[in-house]
Symmetry: C2
DNA sequence: CGATATTTTCAGAATTTCCTGAAAAATCGG
DNA sequence: CCGATTTTTCAGGAAATTCTGAAAATATCG
């Protein structure tokens, strides 16, 4: 019956490793993605040392990225009775994961863009040359679109899972 | 009347520089984002040399990133009659830009993820231990969700601009 | 307290990504 | 073809990011 455990270990290792590689494409570092993958598929909460050993990384690296994941809200600290050290466990619900990631991406990608577009649209509002008008119009169009995207993101993130699925299904039908 | 041109130049420079900085957050390199910003706000198509001079970058850098933007479809090569060298101009329509970026992100972020989840869900399908079942179920849930996202992305990207706005407006109302 | 376990920080090393500049290749008109 | 112009490639350097390992800080227990 240990062949099963072996198969599981292999599948999980592959998931962790590949998910880590993907993280790079994704703008988060490899270790963070790997830890996330590891904890998402962990039967129980894990300690820093277990994570270190499993991924063969340094304590500093494990610590920094665990805390970063906690800051994102993708994992939680768990304290066990009579135990001194911290355990970590991942949020496993896919809809929760999605909304957390969407919120963070909005904060890091959409909001700064909106700020820039706002400022540039503003600074060019009164320029009367043809080129100036064209520039202003381009800024305004981008601003409007990104603002739309921002609001959509909020709207969808705040939906209940069920409602979002319903909407999506309707859209895909 | 040259104060106006000065103001425009300043606003545009700021846009280019800030958009470049944002590109980094975004997983594309600074130069590529800067060139894109520059061309999006250019009154006319520009040559490689003009881009080099404007952004103060090397020929190799300018060339590589111009070609990369062409590969994405965010800019086009323009040939002028009686002129030997290539000019570049950007796609300026925001909806087109959005669909191009969405398509590329799907290709680079969603599809590889789906492939991994598929494989891992498959490899764990027959494991009968409780941990194995939990792992499989997590892979399956993620796969389903990401698959959904992928289809949604296609659907929205293939919409006409007007229809998408209509839908969005309804959603935001 | 003092001893011990655990977490946090961070300087410097390792790695990855990006850019330069120059040489090579391709293109074109005459 | 030849010479001139333009595009492309790429080795090596520069810059940015990530990781290690060890020391410092903090927490906990008797």
């Amino acid at each position: 019956m240990n062949a099963e455990a072996e198969k599981l270990k292999q599948a999980r290792d592959e998931f962790v490793s590949q998910w880590g590689a993907l993280g790079t494409q994704w703008g988060i570092n490899r270790t963070m993605a790997q830890i996330h993958a590891l904890l998402m598929t962990a039967p129980q909460a894990m300690t820093t040392d277990e994570v270190m050993e499993d991924l063969e990384i340094s304590r500093g690296n494990a610590h920094t990225n665990l805390k970063e994941l906690v800051a994102w809200g993708l994992i939680r600290v768990v304290v066990k009775k009579g135990e001194r050290r911290e355990y970590f466990e991942a949020e496993k619900d896919v809809w929760s994961i999605f909304t957390i990631v969407a919120r963070e991406r909005k904060r890091r990608e959409i909001e700064p863009a909106l700020a820039i577009l706002n400022k540039c649209a503003d600074e060019s509002r009164e320029i009367e040359t043809p080129d100036g008008k064209a520039f202003h119009e381009q800024m305004r169009a981008l601003e409007e679109f990104v603002g739309f995207a921002s609001k959509m993101s909020d709207r969808i993130s705040s939906m209940k899972h069920g409602f979002a699925v319903q909407l999506a299904t309707k859209l895909l039908s």
